[in-house]
C-alpha cells in the first residue's frame, strides 16, 4: 500500500435548495483516499454520506441539489470542473459505484449478461463472442456458480445476494481506480453479508483499487477498512487509521458510536448504550459544534464556534475543543 493519494476531496459543499430553506447536506467535507486502501465513511442515516458519494460521481438527485464548491481530484485533476462528456468517460472506467439495494439496481427487462456487456463494452470493443466470454469470466470472479447459465438470466431469477454480486461484477469490470461502495451489505441477509465483504476484499486485493466504503455499521468498518472517517451532520468529525480510532476514539460522537456497538463480551442484562437526542436539522444548523446538543462534555465555546481540526496522533485527527488543550 503506497502513500499516494488516488482521490483527494477538499472542502466539498453540496446543498439542497428547497422552498422551505437550504439543506446543508454536505458542508465542507475533506478526505484523502490512498491507492489500494479501504477508507470507511461512517455516520448515521441522513448525515450526508451517500450524497458525498453522489457529489463525487456528479450524479446528484434532481430537485434542487447543487455542488457549490470544493475540489475532487482524481489523479491530480479536479473532476468537478470536467464537462459532462468527460465525466461520463470517467464513470465506470476510473470511478465506479455499488448501490445499496440489489433489488432495484438492475434493470428488470434486460438479462444480466446484457447489463454486464454494456459495462464491458466501455472498456474493450471486442467481438460479441469475446465480450460474452469476458462477461462469463466476470461472473466467475464474483463467485457466481455456473456463470454460463446465469449469464442469460434476468434479475428476478436471482437472489438478493447474487444480484449484489452481479452489481459488484459490473462495477469492477471497467477496472476502476476507485470503487465507491454505498452500504453494499445493508440490504443483504446477515448470513450473506460476511461473504460479500470477503468478496470485496478479495477483488480489491486482485485489482489494487481503492474503496470508499460507506456504512453506518462500525462492526463492518472494523472488518473491512484500513482507515475510517466519521461523518456527522454534513461534516467529518474524526478521521484516522481504524485501529487508532477503535482504541482511542477522540470525538465524543465517535466514542458514543463505538460504545453503542453491541459486544459479545458485555455483561449479561446490561442495557444497550444509545446516544440521546437527535441530529440537528440540516436546514437549521447551529453555529458551533453540531454535536453540542448531545455531547456529554459540552462547553460554552462548543456552541459558539466550530471546533478546529486537531491532530491526535500521526494521521488521526478530530474536530473537538476538548483536544486542543493537550
Amino acid at each position: 500500500m503506497s502513500n499516494e493519494n488516488v482521490l483527494e476531496v477538499r472542502d466539498l459543499v453540496t446543498y439542497f435548495f428547497l422552498r422551505r430553506g437550504v439543506v446543508k447536506a454536505v458542508d465542507g467535507v475533506s478526505f484523502d483516499l490512498k491507492r489500494g486502501e479501504v477508507l470507511g465513511l461512517v455516520g448515521e442515516s441522513g448525515c450526508g454520506k451517500s450524497l458525498t458519494a453522489l457529489s463525487i460521481m456528479r450524479l446528484l438527485p434532481k430537485g434542487g441539489a447543487r455542488t457549490l464548491r470544493g475540489a475532487v481530484r482524481l489523479g491530480g485533476e479536479n473532476i468537478l470542473t470536467r464537462s459532462p462528456r468527460q465525466m461520463r468517460e470517467i464513470r465506470g472506467r476510473r470511478i465506479s459505484m455499488i448501490l445499496q439495494d440489489p433489488q432495484t439496481s438492475l434493470n428488470p427487462v434486460f438479462s444480466v449478461g446484457e447489463q454486464l456487456r454494456e459495462a464491458i463494452f466501455r472498456r474493450t470493443r471486442g467481438s460479441k463472442a469475446e465480450v460474452m466470454r469476458e462477461a462469463v469470466e466476470a461472473l466467475r470472479r464474483v463467485e457466481i456458480a455456473a456463470p454460463d447459465q446465469r449469464i442469460g438470466q434476468f434479475p428476478h431469477q436471482m437472489s438478493g445476494g447474487m444480484k449484489q454480486r452481479v452489481v459488484g461484477a459490473i462495477a469492477v469490470c471497467g477496472q476502476p481506480e476507485v470503487l465507491i461502495a454505498d452500504e453494499p451489505t445493508t440490504a443483504l441477509d446477515v448470513t450473506i453479508q460476511l461473504q460479500y465483504l470477503k468478496l470485496l476484499k478479495r477483488l480489491q486485493a486482485e485489482t489494487g483499487m481503492a474503496i470508499l466504503f460507506i456504512t453506518h455499521d462500525f462492526g463492518v468498518v472494523a472488518r473491512m477498512c484500513d482507515r475510517v472517517a466519521v461523518m456527522y451532520a454534513g461534516r467529518i468529525v474524526e478521521c484516522g487509521p481504524v485501529v487508532q480510532i477503535f482504541e482511542h476514539p477522540s470525538h465524543p460522537y465517535t466514542q458514543a458510536l463505538i460504545a453503542s456497538v453491541p459486544r459479545m463480551s458485555g455483561t449479561v442484562g446490561g442495557r444497550l448504550a444509545t446516544i440521546d437526542g437527535q441530529p440537528p436539522s440540516l436546514l437549521d444548523l447551529p453555529a458551533g459544534c453540531r454535536f453540542a446538543a448531545r455531547c456529554a462534555h459540552v462547553q460554552a465555546r462548543c456552541r459558539d464556534t466550530y471546533p478546529p481540526t486537531v491532530t491526535v496522533a500521526g494521521e488521526h485527527t478530530a474536530d473537538c475543543w476538548r483536544l486542543g488543550a493537550q
Binding site: 464513470r91 428488470p108 428476478h156 471497467g174
Partner: protein, 305 residues
C-alpha cells in the same frame, strides 16, 4: 405461460356471459321491450304478435335460456329495421371500423408517446406545461364536436378534405384525427408519468454510474421500462376506440359498427342493439386477451415464471 393464457381465457368467457346476462336483463328491466317498439295505435293483437315474434312470451328464465341457447348457435336476434340476422349485419360492417382503429391508435402513439417523453424529460419547465395543456385540451374537447369543427374548417370552408363517407386516403384523415385525439392525450399523460417513475429508479442511476451516454440511458433503459404500463392499457385503449367510433362514424357517416350502434339507438332497434353490444364485448375481450398475452411476453418477469 400456458397456464396464464388458459386462466385469462376463462376469465374472458366468464366476463362474456356476465355481459350477455346484464344485457339481457337490462333490456327487460322496465316492462316489455315490445312496448317501446310498437306504434301508438297498435292493437292488443299486434302487441301479442310482436311479443311472440320476438320471443318475449314465457317466463324470464325461459327467455334467458332461449337467449343463451340461440346465442351459442350464433344467433343473436334479427334487426327490426333491416330484417336481417343481427350477427350478419354486424359482421358486414365490422371491417369498416377495423380499418379505422389501427390508424387512430398509430396516430395516438406517434404523437402521444414522444410528447410524454419530452414532458417527462423537461419536468416543470415550459415544454412540460405546454404538452400538459395540449393533453388536457385533447381530453376536454368532445370528439363529436371536434369532428364537426374539422369538417367545417377543412371541408366546408377550405374544401381540402371530404366531409364523410368511406373512400380513398383523403377520407381517412379527419375521422382518424377525431377518433385519435382523446387517446393521444391519454398516451401522453401515461407515458409522462411512467417515464417520471422510471427516471427516478435505481437502475437508471446505475446506468449513469456505468458511464453510459444519456441517449442510451433514456432510450434503452428508461423507455423500455416506461412503456410496459402503457402496453398493459392497450386493451382499454382499443376498447375506448371502439366506443369512440360510435360518435366518430356518426359524424362522418362512416359505415362501420359504430354508426350501426347509433342507428340502432335512433331507430330503437332493440334486437340489433342487444346483439351489437354482445358482439362488441366479444371483440373487446378478445383484444384484451391478445394484449395480455403480448404483455406477458414482453415483460420477462412474467414470461419466465
Amino acid at each position: 405461460m400456458g397456464g396464464f393464457i388458459a386462466r385469462r381465457l376463462l376469465q374472458g368467457l366468464v366476463l362474456l356471459v356476465l355481459v350477455a346476462t346484464v344485457v339481457f336483463f337490462l333490456g327487460r328491466l322496465t316492462g316489455n321491450p315490445a312496448d317501446l317498439m310498437l306504434p301508438e295505435d297498435a292493437t292488443a293483437e299486434d302487441r301479442a304478435r310482436l311479443i311472440k315474434a320476438l320471443g318475449l312470451d314465457g317466463s324470464l328464465m325461459t327467455q334467458y335460456r332461449a337467449f343463451i341457447g340461440s346465442a351459442l348457435k350464433g344467433d343473436l336476434g334479427t334487426s327490426l329495421r333491416m330484417r336481417q340476422p343481427a350477427v350478419d349485419v354486424f359482421l358486414s360492417r365490422l371491417p369498416n371500423t377495423l380499418v379505422l382503429i389501427p390508424w387512430a391508435l398509430l396516430l395516438a402513439m406517434l404523437v402521444g408517446i414522444p410528447l410524454g417523453v419530452v414532458a417527462a424529460l423537461n419536468r416543470g419547465r415550459f415544454l412540460d406545461r405546454a404538452s400538459g395543456t395540449i393533453a388536457v385540451l385533447g381530453i376536454a374537447t368532445p370528439s363529436f364536436w371536434l369532428g364537426i369543427v374539422l369538417i367545417f374548417v377543412f371541408s366546408v370552408e377550405l374544401g381540402w378534405l371530404p366531409s364523410g363517407r368511406m373512400g380513398g386516403p383523403e377520407h381517412y384523415v379527419l375521422p382518424v384525427i377525431t377518433l385519435g385525439t382523446f387517446l393521444t392525450a391519454g398516451f401522453m399523460r401515461l407515458t409522462r408519468s411512467s417515464m417520471l417513475d422510471v427516471l427516478e429508479s435505481e437502475y437508471v442511476k446505475l446506468a449513469r454510474i456505468k458511464g453510459l451516454s444519456e441517449t442510451m440511458v433514456i432510450w434503452k433503459h428508461c423507455l423500455r421500462n416506461a412503456l410496459i404500463p402503457v402496453l398493459t392499457l392497450w386493451g382499454v385503449f382499443v376498447g375506448n376506440l371502439i366506443t369512440g367510433a360510435i360518435v366518430t362514424e356518426t359524424v362522418f357517416a362512416w359505415p362501420g359498427v359504430g354508426r350501426l350502434t347509433y342507428e340502432a339507438v335512433i331507430y330503437r332497434d332493440f334486437p340489433l342493439l342487444q346483439a351489437v353490444i354482445i358482439l362488441k364485448a366479444i371483440l373487446i375481450l378478445t383484444i384484451n386477451l391478445v394484449v395480455d398475452i403480448l404483455y406477458a411476453y414482453v415483460d420477462p418477469r412474467i414470461r419466465l415464471s
